[in-house]
């Protein structure tokens, strides 16, 4: 079986393989944050006055806010004055007009990451990609093909210039600039991101994808994504992330807003593989992200699928506000933590419309000394009669130094609604591995089989190409723990006096 062989090959590599950095000249704003920096960012992006005003409102509000402390993660205080808030690959004059003008070093970087930016190299019509390098979008593929259908898919900066009405109408309509500490910070200093608008009745003919890459040391990345599906439109959107290995922590505070109007459907999938730090917890990305979708119209649907394997700390709750009657929200998540990683992730399903439905499937896997928390809120409002929610949270522990925590919050305010919650915690035991061994299956294959089996319900929600990538990612993330289990078994398996595991 080829997919098995692939998995094994991946297993052989224990290191974070996206850890290289690109040596490219960058235009970086000096560290520090004040109104001047906000104005500078806006000026560099040649933004209209209304955009600057919005940023300044956010910045002023941010000054009044305190960093939240309630989450189940721990990190030293972040010095917001030490980070740089803008970094862009240096270009002569204006930004690239087409992909041919993009710095070849950048294209090379994306090729190494397996993200082809040259359209001809992409299987025709499969995926359109917007790549974000540090803070700015470096190229969007298939723009013309999409434009024929009236679909707008471009960098956020372009959207501000070319589609100001749409941006003004929807930006901040799901995540207002006052929302929370990190979202507000993002609103003040966001540098770029992706913008997507699917017009009425259009089914987007290909998967849309954004690929995020943090390259510069000691910059934060604050991108902003806005996705609007007009009446009857549908789209599937993928997001991938990587960063070089650096031993300082970098902040990634993004905002994603989704708006689905009547009968619209949006599927948003993330494979998050930011650099997690080394096995002692040095370095890695702080991934503090606000993702929220609003099912504004009736019969609309927003579905979040995430596979979170990277970052030193992941802290995010892709959520759905189910306003329209009969609207549907879904959240499928695999969060894998190893070594010293921490994850506090989950979702919020806010039922406001009648007969709204939501499904939550969360799979947490903790290995090493990591901590993995699921936090979820299901809120059913008084008027959301006939609404339903199903939540399932399963945790798997590998080894006995890690932790899994589950905090389901339920607020049900009418009795015609139905809520179901299931939770389980299990250890990937030597028992399960031994059982597979006893049937002839090797330990690596056994662990891979067990973990992928555990995540199956989520993987099947991912688009095909992503599902394979996600499986491989999990295997890589687990690498350390597989060796641990194997060593354990070898050590204990040997007869006294015949001990030769030193060769291993």
């Amino acid at each position: 079986m080829t997919s098995d062989t692939l998995m094994l090959e991946e297993l052989a590599q224990s290191e974070y393989k996206y850890g290289f950095s690109t040596d490219i000249e960058a235009d970086t704003v000096p560290p520090g944050l004040n109104e001047e920096v906000v104005r500078l960012i806006s000026a560099k992006k040649e933004e209209p006055e209304w955009m600057l005003e919005w940023r300044l409102k956010a910045y002023r509000h941010w000054l009044t806010m305190e960093e939240p402390q309630w989450q189940n993660v721990h990190y030293p205080p972040i010095d917001y004055q030490a980070a740089s808030y803008y970094s862009a690959p240096k270009q002569a004059g204006e930004g690239p007009k087409s992909l041919d003008e993009v710095d070849p070093k950048l294209l090379e970087t994306y090729e190494k990451l397996g993200i082809p930016l040259k359209e001809r190299e992409i299987l025709a019509g499969v995926v359109a990609v917007d790549a974000v390098f540090d803070s700015v979008s470096v190229g969007t593929t298939f723009k013309e093909t999409l434009a024929e259908k009236g679909i707008i898919f471009c960098s956020f900066s372009e959207a501000v210039k070319d589609h100001p009405d749409l941006v003004k109408k929807y930006m901040g309509s799901v995540v207002p600039y006052t929302d929370n500490f990190f979202a507000t910070l993002n609103s003040a200093v966001f540098s770029d991101g992706s913008f997507c608008y699917i017009p009425k009745g259009v089914k987007c003919p290909m998967e849309l994808s954004t690929y995020f890459r943090i390259n510069e040391a000691s910059t934060g990345q604050f991108e902003r994504t806005l996705l609007v599906a007009d009446e009857g439109a549908s789209v599937s959107y993928l997001e991938g992330c990587t960063a070089p290995m650096r031993d300082t922590n970098q902040l990634h505070a993004a905002v994603v807003e989704i708006v689905a109007l009547d009968d619209a459907q949006v599927k948003y999938s993330t494979v998050q593989n930011w650099y997690p730090g080394d096995e002692n917890g040095k370095g890695g990305i702080y991934n503090f992200v606000t993702k929220r979708g609003k099912c504004a119209g009736k019969n609309s649907k927003i579905s979040w699928t995430q596979v979170e394997t990277g970052s030193a700390i992941t802290w995010k709750y892709p959520s759905c506000i189910l306003m329209g009657d009969n609207s549907v929200g879904e959240f499928y998540s695999v969060a894998m933590t190893n070594n010293m990683q921490q994850a506090d992730t989950g979702t919020k399903m806010i039922h406001l419309g009648k007969n709204t439905r939501s499904t939550i499937i969360s799979k947490g896997i903790s290995a090493g000394k990591s901590q993995n928390t699921y936090r979820g809120l299901v809120k059913i409002g008084k008027k959301a009669t006939g609404s339903r929610n199903y939540s399932q949270c399963d945790s798997m522990l590998i080894g006995d130094k890690c932790g899994a925590h589950t905090f389901p919050y339920l607020e049900i305010n009418n009795k015609t609604s139905q809520v179901e919650h299931e939770a389980s915690t299990s250890k990937i035991g030597e028992d399960q591995i031994f059982y597979c061994n006893q049937r002839g299956i090797e330990t690596e294959d056994a662990v891979s089989m067990i973990v992928n089996g555990f995540c199956k319900e989520v993987f099947r929600e991912l688009p095909m190409e992503f599902a394979v990538e996600a499986q491989k990612l999990l295997d890589v993330s687990l690498e350390g723990s597989v060796v641990y289990i194997k060593r354990l078994s070898l050590r204990e398996n040997r007869i006294k006096g015949k001990n030769d595991y030193g060769n291993y």
């Binding site: 399960q432 006893q438 049937r439 294959d445 199956k456 204990e492």
Partner: protein, 256 residues
């Protein structure tokens, strides 16, 4: 021909000696029953033969077809034809039975230097064996042992044994928790396996009832980590009448 030779086997877990010198030879075509009270070491013996890691072998050896069994990893033993029917079969959520068995069958074939099994042939094989344990097609797409009743789990062990076609099977309390109908199905499966004169089995049980359906060639009584009595199938009936008490009161050889 000896399939397995256990010589003066001592094993311990967390410093407690459980097996205190087991000697047992099983030849091709034979079925041996091992009985004994709870905690006598029956399941430990089964686990040690399959290579369970928690146990430390402190003395003795086990030869399988003349080769040193204790030097092999658990999956190597399985590929060499040793099968353990678990006392408590393990659940693996999300991994369906047919995928699991196919992975196992191909691992064993690879070990033997054979090609991977043809998917069509494999399905035919599964269907044929499933019938023998009274399981329906739905079973193939269910996750391994997940949500199975106790009886279904035990039947699944026998089913896996039939598909993997081992040379030497160890059945660890496969009869425990079975009602009479399930017991008959399990016994039929084991008796089918025994028909082949090149194969052998050890049946570990707590209850004499099983031996009415799987009639062993030899019965051994394990008490406190040692085989204290061996005999033919009559021994099982004697145990049934008298319990283990009459054996236990016999003076144990001095430890010093």
């Amino acid at each position: 021909m000896a399939i397995i030779e256990i010589k003066n086997l001592h094993a311990q877990i967390e410093g407690n000696e459980i097996l205190k010198g087991i000697n047992l030879t099983v030849n091709a075509g034979e079925t041996h029953a091992i009985m004994g009270p709870n905690g006598s070491g029956k399941s430990t013996l089964a686990s040690v033969l399959a290579g369970r890691e928690e146990y430390e072998i402190t003395e003795g050896e086990v030869l399988y077809h003349g080769k040193d069994l204790l030097d092999m990893d658990p999956n190597e033993r399985a590929c060499e034809g040793i099968f353990l029917a678990f006392q408590y079969p393990v659940e693996i959520p999300g991994v369906n039975n047919s995928y699991f068995l196919k992975t196992a069958v191909n691992a064993i074939r690879k070990h033997r230097g054979e090609e991977e099994i043809d998917p069509g042939d494999f399905l035919t094989l599964l269907r044929e064996k499933m019938k023998l344990v009274h399981m329906d097609d739905k079973f193939l797409s269910r996750s391994i042992n997940e949500g199975f009743s106790g009886g279904e789990k035990k039947r699944n062990e026998i089913f896996q044994m039939m598909v993997l076609d081992p040379t030497f099977a160890v059945l660890d309390e496969t009869d425990s928790g079975l009602d009479i109908d399930a017991l008959k199905i399990v016994a039929d499966g084991v008796n089918e396996f025994r028909k082949d004169p090149k194969k052998a089995a050890i049946v570990v049980t707590h209850y004499q009832r099983l031996l009415n359906y799987i009639v062993p060639d030899f019965v051994h009584v394990l008490v406190d980590g040692k085989i204290v009595q061996s005999g033919g199938k009559e021994l099982a009936f004697e145990l049934e009448d008298k319990g283990y008490g009459w054996i236990e009161i016999e003076p144990a050889p001095a430890h010093a």
